[in-house]
Amino acid sequence: MTAALAEQGTRPAPAAAPPPTARGKRRRGLDQGVPRWQIYLPLCLYLLFTLVPFYWMLLFALRPAGSNALVPWPITGEHFQKVWNERSFGIFFQNSMIVGVASLVMTTAVALAGGYALARFDFRLKKGFMLALLASQFIPGALMLVPLFEIFKNLQMINSLGSVVIAETVFQLPLSIILISGFIKNVPVSLEEQAWVDGCGRFRAFCAVVLPLLRPGLIAVGSFAFVHSWNHFLFALMFLSSQDKQTIPVGLNTLIGADSVDLGALAAGGVIAAVPVVIVFAFIQKWLITGFSAGAVKG
């Protein structure tokens, strides 16, 4: 009785509320009464800011050298040929792929184990482990260059892609573990227990029950790892000395730093660097937001 009254109290005029049948309207929520132009005008302005730089890069990559046209016509592949063959972007691309995929695999595998431990167990070191993960977020990778360089030199890993893979993995682990343990917490324990009752071991139950449900989260975490190590520059610059070991960002930097900058080649190199991340981004875009809301924000 009182509950019903109280509910009525919060909604004094039920007639004025949107009719319950209009489900589309209910979902809108925030935008009730926002005029369309107030959405499209700022959106178009922001899109201009986002897309003009991308367009500019494509323009320089595709139009012939010396042209000033604002539309890349006739389209030429000369810049791409040049950077791929003469500037060895083919090799850079391959190296970046190796680094990206290897850190994706390592980060996801190690973080999966750590995330599972955090999500499903209470153990004595748990608090300390969590604290270490969070604290490591404040440790600047750039400032660790000197000792890391020394370590890899002692391990005789300078100028091998392994050093970059390890460094990238280590600096992405903390966030990946926190994200993954968030995803695992969202999977009800009862699902796993059910599988144990059916005679599965913990590992088999995990693989059969939890892993499939984690797929979106793992794709999100793995993609972050790939995109991050594909893009990251400093470790590759410092640890890889010979040209045949370098990655795309380092290759781009040599083009930027050249005495007379070949803008066409620079733009073509930029496009080559952008293609894999754009593909990954298009692939994970729909999971991006849910991934963050499930893992990072709710912790």
Binding site: R26, L47, T50, F60, F138, V146, V227, V277, S293
Partner: protein, 308 residues
Amino acid sequence: MADAVAKPPRVTRRRTGGPARRLPYLLIAPTGLLMLGFIAYPMLSVLYYSLRNYNVTKPWRNGYAGFGNFTRILTDDPQFWDTLVFSGKWVVTEVLLQLLLGLALALLVHQTFLGRGLARALVFSPWAVSGVLTTTIWMLLYNPSTGISRYLADAGIGTYGTSVLSDTGTVFWAAVVAELWRGVPFFAILILADLQSIPQDLYEAASVDGAGRARRFFHITLPHLKDAIILSTLLRGVWEFNNVDLLYTLTGGGPAGQTTTLPLYVANTGINGHDFGYASALTTVAFVILLFCSILYLRLSKFGGETK
């Protein structure tokens, strides 16, 4: 399916010694070893080096230095203070602008409108782009003879031959805009994720009670986003402080050291100048400042204070 899962009696398996007790430690072992070896140990060596003279090019002077490096930083290194001031200016400008634009952008693409999916994909796309690629793109735009300014000059706006990157008056804002381009989407994604968790009933109840858009924003949206905003500004602040990719490649810290952040100064001192001891002392100071600012920020902003 869901019913079948919910119904059966729950079997609570106890963690009763044996392998089950060791399992969590086994699971965190790879992470622990990697972090000990490549984060904790390097941190300790930074502390160790910072107390030493350690210069690869002047080995005869190497040895214990006590707090010599630190006194030199604090009393005898004007460049340190310059880079510290620039770091502060850079972080505050970037984080504030990214927060405001990111919040606006998230609110915008949270609305329902035709083409929302495509619009989201497009405005978020620079998030995936790296520091060096951002530099590449903005170098092309800023180029004085073939960049945007030339076409604007053709149209009668501005003058020919201006390079915003070599002018001490404009280089800061040129770098800020380039960094905003890829930084705003990150904020927008985080805030959008949190926006979606606000119960719609709140808005409906509020509008029934006659609250306008502004009041709904300040009384429902903003308080709800508070913790996400504090956390993301903190993470972003640390990241903007630490990140050197963009400035290293876009301006190289120049012109005339105008855009050298503290980490960039450390990298120059250590890797290019081979003065590992002094670079390590700078690193220690930077870390302490970062930690101090972070704790102060969390205290002042009362993170998580109201919900608990």
